[in-house]
């Protein structure tokens, strides 16, 4: 057996209400590239955050054994000192600093009182050469492309004397050519003895570079595949990723009564709000029927949220174009207010960031999107407001002593119910639910599903965006699969399986990802 560089033993990490990692075991050999795969939310990033000390020792259970010794990292700096360096999915570079300054940020050359800029740039140049980046170290980060920025990140990691490099979705924002170059760079480093862990959704890339593949599902390690002994194919990996039983975690909907098309979106295009030449939603067309649950599946970054928010009164992106047709009539919605007035509600995936006002009461959050409903001539009828809040609290079974309770004091599931209540009070015809069950426990999930069923049985339509395949399959009447800003498949619920959806996403990746 080869040398083991890192072993994570029986790692368990719980967040309030959720067990993110459950007794995970993970071994990495010296000088290999080890891939970590799994669905969104399976626990990959959490595991890596435990390893890097982002979650300090004591906040999890289990042992980290690195180079034969048990490690107790309290902060990122501790793990970096041992040579464990993590490169996050969102690049952590500062746009208005030069390449050299960025590379040695927090790792400055010279003394505390006098930075040695000659040494900084000299070393920066040396590492840039190693990663094959042909740029001067005093170029500003904002002036180089994303692909080059990724290389700077790697150079930065190497400058910290990395022995174990962790890359979280390193190619997610790179094009085909840059991705290939990056993967080849990793292979070259492997020859030179560097160990890497790569987290990726792109299974073709994983199959290309990895020596071992560990599959994580629902916070537990499922299996580790060895390139030498196992037959590593994408279908094999997918089986490991999704292979769980669909039990009755979803409430049955008695004979769905699906009516006519109530909303249709045609040729919808949206560009990134900052990088206005980057297309985020690419010529998307879809429709929704009355009383129907339409699922939109896809990986993170596929453009689902961007699609939903841009339809919801252009709340995301720039230069949105295309048609929205409601009940046969062409409608232009320029603001969230327009969308609400047209009977559309968007329940955000980010309930703390975009959904709720945490330091306000349940009551005030419930009525925020429909103040007209509880006021006349701009004067709030407090009694009516209270009555409305209580009505929705009872309807959705929100567990709280009083509607005067601050939303920040509620559990995730109950917060989600308040968010739903807020949008149900706008009396919409079409509800777009973006990751409606993210980060909430199983019981609350079931209740949310029941609410969805109740809504459609009242003749409303629901568009449900979700990264969880079982949820999409269990709840939807019809499923659209999105990838890279496009709709790549439309499936009837009865034809869809986890494997089919995954393979639709993967095969698209192959087409765009090229012949790596």
């Amino acid at each position: 057996m080869a040398d083991i560089l890192l072993e994570m033993r029986n790692i368990t990490k719980t967040f309030p209400g959720v067990k993110a990692l459950d007794n995970v075991n993970f071994k990495v050999e010296k000088g290999e590239i080890h891939a970590l795969v799994g669905e969104n939310g399976a626990g990959k990033s959490t595991l890596m955050n435990v390893l890097s000390g982002t979650y300090p020792y004591g906040s999890y259970e289990g042992d980290i054994i690195y180079n034969g010794e048990v490690c107790r990292f309290n902060k990122i700096k501790d793990s970096e000192e041992k040579g464990i360096v993590i490169i996050h999915q969102e690049l952590a570079l500062i746009p208005y600093m030069t390449i050299g300054e960025n590379m040695f940020l927090g790792n400055e050359r010279g003394s505390k009182l006098a930075i040695d800029w000659d040494e900084t740039h000299g070393m920066a140049c040396r590492y840039l050469k190693i990663v094959g980046l042909n740029e001067s170290s005093d170029v500003l980060i904002k002036d180089i492309g994303v692909g080059k920025q990724q290389l700077v990140e790697i150079a930065k990691a190497l400058a910290k004397d990395a022995k174990l490099l962790i890359l979280d979705e390193p190619t997610s924002s790179l094009n085909e050519e840059d991705s290939k170059a990056l993967l080849d760079l990793l292979l070259r480093f492997k020859e030179e003895g560097l160990t890497s862990i790569i987290i990726s959704h792109k299974l073709n890339e994983v199959a290309y570079v990895a020596d071992h593949i560990t599959v994580i599902r629902d916070g537990a390690t499922i299996e580790t595949l060895d390139k030498k002994t196992d037959d590593i194919t994408e279908t094999r990996i997918i089986k490991g990723m999704v292979g769980r039983e669909l039990s009755d975690r979803f409430p049955k909907r008695p004979d769905a009564d699906i009516g006519d098309i109530c909303m249709e979106v045609r040729n919808w295009n949206v560009y990134h709000p900052v990088y206005t030449e980057r297309k985020v939603v690419d010529n998307v067309s879809f429709n929704v029927r009355k009383g129907e649950v339409v699922g939109i599946s896809g990986l993170m970054g596929a453009g689902r949220t961007e699609l939903a928010m841009s339809i919801f009164g252009r709340s995301y992106g720039s230069n949105a174009s295309g048609e929205t047709i409601l009940n046969g009539k062409k409608v232009v919605m320029k603001s969230a207010r327009d969308a609400i007035n047209n009977g559309i509600a968007y329940v955000t995936e980010d309930r703390k960031g975009n959904g709720l006002i945490l330091n306000k009461s349940i009551k005030e959050n419930t009525t925020l999107a429909n103040m007209g409903g509880i006021s006349s001539k701009g004067v709030i009828d407090r009694n009516k407001e209270y009555a409305v809040a209580v009505e929705y609290k009872n309807k959705l079974n929100t567990k709280t002593p009083s509607v005067e309770q601050l939303v920040s004091n509620l559990s995730g599931g109950n917060q989600q119910k308040v968010l739903l209540a807020k949008w149900m009070f706008t009396e919409p015809e079409i509800l777009i639910l973006d990751e409606p069950t993210r980060g909430i426990d199983v019981g609350a999930k079931y209740e949310i599903y029941c609410i969805i069923n109740q809504l459609v049985s009242e003749g409303k339509s629901v568009i449900m965006i979700s990264s969880e395949l079982p949820e999409i399959l269990g709840m939807s009447d019809r499923i659209y699969v999105m990838n890279d800003g496009k709709i790549v498949a439309e499936l009837d619920a009865c034809d869809a399986t986890q494997e089919v959806i995954m393979s639709k996403i993967i095969s698209m990746n192959e087409k765009t990802g090229g012949e790596v």
Binding site: G313, R337, G355, L358, N359, E364, M371, G372, V379
Partner: protein, 394 residues
């Protein structure tokens, strides 16, 4: 459970308790001079501008801890053009007042436009405004003082020697010893307050709203009525209601109502609590910023009128540090430096606390520079308390 209630009580009423402590302290250390009728009247007249500006500042701070540094300069500038209109151009008082209010609104809207729609940071826009309008004040006044001779204007906006609301009730009955109007107003306020409170309790009960225990409400009611009656009695024993108090009262009541009872008021809190969520709820958040800063221009104009009327002149140095008094009052009064939290009653307490400290120290003869030091310390302590108490909650 009891312990939680006690800490909750202290957290909620800290500033009121602090105010009480400060009043007791200065009453003792000034040998009771602080609570002389004349001093109470002075407290109101001298701080009228603080109440007016702090009310406006609260709206800006609610949107996310945003402040307006220009109000002092704007007060000075609009005061200057008002004085020039009345004295140099010989305009009628009413015309000049309308002119000043319009100027305030336009200045406010000008700054608000950049803040709300172009999203230039408020700090920068209002810092620029601070320079611009201070400079323009000098230009308008030629660097000199313009003294006001329009008596009607001065009387209405509470300046000069004759700055009290005339006691027409007392005149009818020929009572001169005490100001009957003031006493009547005090009693009417108490009656109105009690009636409103009981009506709202009844309404709440009818709608299944939970109500606070009757005894605690009655205690609170009794305390507030006692304070109101005490103050009006004190004022009645002197010359009556300072005219400036009338303006302050109107503004405080109107803005108190707007912030607590109207949808527009709710939007200020919502934007400060979570702007993205507010925007996605279909609320025009740009307009909320625009209203906040335009309104500050309007209230600066009112403060400008009060200032030139009280000092019966306009000078290029007026209004200095007014912005700091207003900002300080808001934070001492419990407004959050992150936005979304704060009330008009809280701001009144904050402004009064600052006013009492100023007045008390002046009576004691404390050096003006040390007064500034004390004010600074009070502000810092108030905000530290706010930040720390929030952390404990998390």
């Amino acid at each position: 459970m009891e312990k939680v209630k006690v800490t909750e009580f202290f957290r909620k009423y800290t500033m009121i308790l602090a105010l009480v402590v400060v009043i007791i302290f200065f009453s003792v250390s000034t040998g009771g001079k602080l609570l002389l009728s004349q001093n109470i009247a002075n407290l109101v007249a001298q701080n009228a501008y603080v109440y007016v500006l702090a009310t406006g500042m609260l709206l800006a701070i609610l949107t996310g801890g945003n402040i307006d540094l220009s109000v002092g300069s704007v007060v000075c500038f609009v005061g200057a053009i008002g004085a020039v209109a009345m004295e140099s151009w010989k305009w009628a008082g009413t015309a000049a007042v309308i002119f000043v209010l319009l100027a305030g609104i336009i200045i406010g809207a000008f700054q608000a436009y950049w803040i709300a729609y172009v999203r230039v940071p408020p700090f920068i826009v209002t810092l620029s405004g601070m320079f611009i309008f201070r400079g323009l004040s000098n230009v308008v006044l030629n660097g000199k003082a313009v003294s006001l001779k329009n008596d009607a204007f001065i009387r209405v906006f509470g300046g000069g020697a004759n700055c009290y609301v005339p006691d027409f009730i007392g005149k009818i009955f020929g009572i001169e010893k005490i100001n009957v109007l003031t006493l009547t107003v005090g009693v009417l306020i108490c009656i109105a307050y009690v009636l409103i409170l009981f009506r709202s309790r009844g309404n709440k009960k009818k709608n299944g709203y939970e109500v606070k225990p009757l005894t605690s409400e009655i205690v609170k009611m009794a305390i507030i009525c006692a304070v109101v009656l005490f103050l009006t009695y004190k004022l009645a024993m002197y010359k009556g209601i300072p005219t400036a108090l009338m303006w302050v009262a109107v503004i405080v009541v109107v803005y108190g109502y707007i912030t607590s009872k109207t949808t527009t008021g709710r939007y200020f809190y919502a934007v400060g609590g979570n702007e993205k969520a507010t925007k996605l709820s279909g609320i025009n958040t740009n307009r909320v910023y625009f209203i906040a800063y335009t309104n500050l221009g309007f209230l600066s104009a009112i403060a400008g009128l009060l200032t030139i009327a009280r000092l019966t002149s306009a000078q290029p140095t007026y209004g200095q540090n007014y912005e700091m008094d207003a900002i300080g009052s808001c934070f001492i009064g419990g407004a959050s430096a992150y936005g979304g939290v704060g009330t008009v009653p809280g701001v009144i307490i904050g402004a009064t606390l600052m006013g009492v400290i100023n007045l008390g120290m002046s009576i004691m003869g404390v050096d003006a520079n040390w007064q500034k030091v004390v004010k600074g310390v009070v502000l810092l302590v108030a905000v530290i308390f706010d930040v720390v108490s929030k952390k404990q909650k998390d």
